[in-house]
């Protein structure tokens, strides 16, 4: 049912958007909500295993820098916690994977699968969906 599912599209490489999405995912999954996350466009490289690629893709504003300075949890750690708390599935966008010739082995292991936009739309149809 709609109230038990939430879908997120991560598009931006801005740290603040990724962090906000990660916080929402962790709390929603702790309530028992199923969370589907589709990571596409500039957001996907920020999850690359190579820290140089990931860091170069991240856009950090003053708040993001402050979070880092204060030793707060990073967004990937929060997404991992979200998965530990409940049913959270994270998909890498097939388009971005193809243009970079990446496989799931190139990304942080929090990803479950590669998916196209049609597949995500089918999952998200009729359910609340938020874009970051």
């Amino acid at each position: 049912m709609a109230e038990d599912m939430m879908n997120l599209m991560l598009i931006s490489g801005e740290y603040s958007r990724l962090h906000a999405a990660a916080m929402l995912s962790a709390v929603a999954s702790s309530y028992g909500k199923t969370v589907n996350i589709f990571v596409s466009m500039e957001a996907l490289p920020t999850f690359h295993k190579d820290p140089q690629i990931a860091e170069a893709s991240l856009i950090k504003g003053p708040v993001a820098k402050k979070i880092e300075e204060t030793g707060g949890q990073g967004f990937i750690e929060l997404f991992q916690q979200a998965k530990d708390f409940g049913e959270v599935t994270i998909y890498a966008c097939g388009l971005v994977m193809d243009v970079y010739h990446w496989t799931l082995a190139d990304l942080n292991p929090i990803f479950d699968d590669v998916m196209g936009v049609a597949g995500f739309l089918t999952k998200a149809e009729g359910q609340p969906t938020f874009t970051f």
Binding site: S30, T70, G71, G72, Q73, L78, Q81, F85
Partner: protein, 76 residues
């Protein structure tokens, strides 16, 4: 006197204290009471919201010399 499990999240910012509480609640049996210590005022407001939504009991929410102490009983 009921045993209270203290979660010392002082120095951690939102949502850190809440994340620590959620981890604790997942690990302990129903009936366990937790007390989250937080130096973060936002968490003292946000944790009760989570507690209500998640179906647990807010036992106490107080401030002592800049440290917020939120006591929560696991109900399910």
């Amino acid at each position: 006197m009921e045993d209270v499990k203290v979660i010392d999240a002082r120095g951690s910012f939102c949502p850190g204290p809440l994340m620590e509480l959620i981890k604790g609640i997942r690990q302990e049996p129903v009936g366990t009471t937790f007390e989250v210590w937080s130096s973060d005022a936002g968490s003292a407001k946000d944790i009760p919201e989570w507690v209500a939504r998640a179906g647990h009991e807010l036992v106490k929410n107080s401030e002592d010399d800049g440290i917020f102490k939120v006591q929560v009983k696991k109900l399910r």
